[in-house]
Amino acid sequence: MSTQVHATLTDETVRKISDANDEPEWLIETRLDALSALDDLELPHVIQTPGRSWTNLEALDFESLVDPLTAAEEKDLVGDDDVVVTTLAEAASDDEYADIVRENFGSIVDPQENFLTALSTALFSSGTFIYVPEGVDAEDVKIRTEMNSRSLFNYTLVVAEESSTATILERQYSGAELDEDRYYSAVVEVAAGENAHVQYGWLQNLDQDTYNYTLKRGRTDTYATINWIEGNLGSRLTKSAVETTLDGSGSESQIVGAFFGHEDQHFDVNARVWHRNEHTTADLVTRGVLDDEARSVYEGVQDVGRDAWDTSSYQRENTLMLSDESEADASPKLIINNHDTEASHSATVGQVDAEELLYMTSRGIGEKEATDMLVKGFFVPVLDEIAIDEFRDDLESLITARLDE
């Protein structure tokens, strides 16, 4: 990688961020290691086919985008009494949770996995720690982040102990308009203990001057479940990966995604699951709509390892194109190393069904209204998978708002 960021970023910058939070020494070291690794790290993987790169991350000018010392945000953290929802900095220096943080931080997403994760680790000023003790049922954890600066680096660590339940909703918005390019980065790690059940909803509606990198990854213990729901509506360019490593026998994961792009938005959305143990199950469902010159890139990966006996793995991706200037690229990959597997994937790209449209307009519904109804209907299979009412309502109203624009 280039040294463009390194030129403006020094150990001193990182220490300033860390000192402001009074972080323990190991965390400062982790940040500094990530910083010094930047020079040798690559940008995250992007699909290339002959002659074209599906998402152009190289074009991002990180030097001008990244301004870590003026990071500003408004954050709401809501949780029940028996669940811990706090900043990472506080948790890392708290007697009770310091060890849990240290043990889990960076254990699921390697801070030096790529250039952007390293950048996030070195510079995050906004960290969240969610801890659900054994047997606790945390129904209503909410994180709301409003980005009020040029750049913002977020880090979220979720530890759900044995037989606990957590329902987490995270929303990302832009605050004051800045009228310049911005950069938002988020790394989320979820450790689901034995028999734990984590549902993580994510709704991104950043303004359209914002470049967004997100990596969310969970790891399941025996019989654990991690379900992800992800809605992407905002940003100019989003590179988002949602991933589960099914480490424990009998564990499960569902990844449900929805995106709706318009104008010149670009969504590079990845859903990936690694079956690493027996009797694991995965279901990946993504639906996206593209209007104007918007562009989507979808990569889905179902990777069944040698030891993953009795695996079930399903993936569906459907894209609806409303405009002839839009482009939808997709690559759903199956990587199967165990034959005791039932796996399938499917992907479709198409436009609003002309017959359905004709049927509706012939019943007196205006064409615009009919199209809107068909688009909303298109998202229903995804909305149906969302068990959290509030999240579903939010996503639905954002879709409606987009159609009304």
């Binding site: 194109m321 939808a328 199967i336 190393n337 992907a347 436009q351």
Partner: protein, 476 residues
């Protein structure tokens, strides 16, 4: 943008490969192929100057291009040492050493012929060591019949001499330019032998054209070039005759196939390859399909150590149609990375891809496909279906489709499934008195039936027999 420009954009441009060029210095040896070697081949064949120039240009490209190493999960090509291949490219002398004596063939290949029950004379022909009398006669008879209609079917080397205008226009120009990939460039530099098929306007060649004949004389079949030009309204079915294991002195096969399907023409290209297990099979096959033309690719990939082969159709004319039917079978130590590419560059174009794979005893199969629908290719549709069958836990099966959709008025569907051979199915067949092996064979035969029913009967039978042998573990 016209579809012509689109097509050129997809093929012979520097940009297309520039993103890989950063590796070139490390991977391309200075020694490589030399200009002298190329001149020697060309002189030996008494080629016109323009062909020599094309070879030299290809050589230059070959030397500049990096090995393909950056594809996710691609076969390991580290053993493909271009420097080691080079000496073998000198014509004839070394070539004959390995191939003109039946006794020198590896036992596994002789065994295969035994088990296939093929008579010895035919075996020698199929393995490239002798003359195949029967085919020669058949070919000769058919040729008379076609010649009256103006059909040309001959060795590619001869076509360069006898049909220079057609060859000059079509040979590695717009369809498979040597700049396409490193092995297309290698092929362009050292190609030798192969088939030339020309079908005049509105002529239908009722019998399949079979390319067994070239194995009689061509020691250099490893770099054979096939050029098919089907003029408007014509129809031809070409069958590549490597349905038996070919033995080769060297371990790289890098063929080139170019098919021109003009308006309303219909070309079917069938091939069943069963190369020996020391062969790297790195081919480039492509068709350009004009308005309302139809291209059908039918292929079975059985042999080789590693195969990278993605037959491609460029649907350039309105209403052009493409069909891909492929089957891959990977046994122990094999890595068969194959699939299909389709570029929809015109409106109302249609493609269907049906891919089946079987992996067994640690073999790896991968479907790697690309469907590109260009802006303006409205009302195009594509349906891709991949099914993989796995026999055991040492084997691997991957599916990696890529879909690039720049047009909204389209219908794109991709589906893939992977599964093991059904215990219930086997149990059912066993309860009807079949033993375990026969039950599995029957299930596989059913699994690949959509492929075999597209092949002429003798190929279908042979394919089935080869698969049966694979399943008994009796092939090398």
């Amino acid at each position: 943008m016209s579809s012509e420009q689109d097509h050129l954009k997809e093929t012979d441009t520097e940009e297309r490969f520039s993103f890989k060029n950063e590796h070139e210095a490390a991977l391309v040896s200075e020694r490589g192929l030399t200009e002298e070697t190329i001149r020697l081949i060309s002189e030996d064949k008494d080629e016109p100057e323009w062909m020599l120039e094309r070879r030299l240009r290809a050589l230059k490209l070959f030397q500049e291009m990096p090995m393909p190493t950056d594809w996710p999960g691609q076969p390991d090509l580290s053993e493909v040492d271009v420097d080691k291949i080079v000496p073998y490219i000198r014509p004839d002398v070394e070539m004959r050493e390995g191939t003109d004596d039946w006794e020198n063939l590896p036992d596994e290949i002789k065994d295969t012929f035994d088990k296939l029950g093929i008579p010895e004379a035919e075996r020698k022909a199929l393995s490239g060591v002798g003359a195949q009398y029967e085919s020669e006669v058949v070919y000769q008879n058919m040729q008379d019949q076609w010649e009256e209609k103006g059909v040309v079917f001959m060795n590619m080397d001869r076509a360069v001499q006898e049909h220079p205008e057609i060859v000059k226009e079509h040979f590695m120009t717009s369809c498979v330019p040597p700049s396409d990939n490193k092995f297309a460039a290698l092929h362009g530099a050292v190609w030798s032998g192969g088939s030339f098929v020309y079908v005049p306007e509105d002529v239908t060649v009722e019998m399949p054209v079979q390319a067994y004949f070239r194995m009689n004389s061509e020691g250099m079949g490893q770099f054979e070039h096939t050029l098919i030009v089907a003029e408007p309204g014509s129809e031809v079915h070409y069958i590549e005759g490597c349905s038996a294991p070919k033995y080769s002195a060297f371990n790289l096969h890098s063929g080139g196939v170019e098919v021109f399907v003009k308006e309303d023409a219909h070309v079917q290209y069938s091939t069943v390859q069963n190369w020996s297990r020391n062969t790297y099979n790195l081919n480039t096959k492509r068709a350009i399909v004009e308005e309302n033309g139809t291209m059908e690719w039918i292929s079975g990939s059985m042999g080789s150590k590693a195969t990278m082969l993605y037959p491609c159709s460029i649907l350039k004319g309105r209403g052009a149609t493409d069909t891909h039917i492929t089957i891959a079978f990977a046994g122990e130590g094999q890595d068969i990375d194959t699939g299909a590419k389709v570029y929809h560059n015109a409106p109302n174009t249609k493609s269907t891809i049906e891919s089946k794979s079987i992996s067994k005893d640690g073999g790896r199969t991968n479907y790697r496909g690309l469907v590109h629908i260009a802006d303006g290719a409205e009302n195009s549709s594509t349906a891709v279906e991949c099914d993989a069958l796995m026999f055991d836990n040492e084997s691997t099966s991957d599916t990696m489709p890529y879909m690039e959709i720049e047009e909204s008025k389209v219908d794109v569907a991709h589906e893939a499934t992977v599964g093991k051979i059904g215990d219930e199915d086997i149990f059912y067949l066993q309860s009807r008195g079949l033993d375990d092996d026969d039950a599995k064979k029957m299930i596989v035969a059913g699994f690949i039936e959509p492929i075999t029913e597209e092949l002429p009967i003798e190929y279908a039978v042979e394919l089935n027999r080869l698969i049966e042998l694979e399943m008994e573990g009796s092939l090398g």
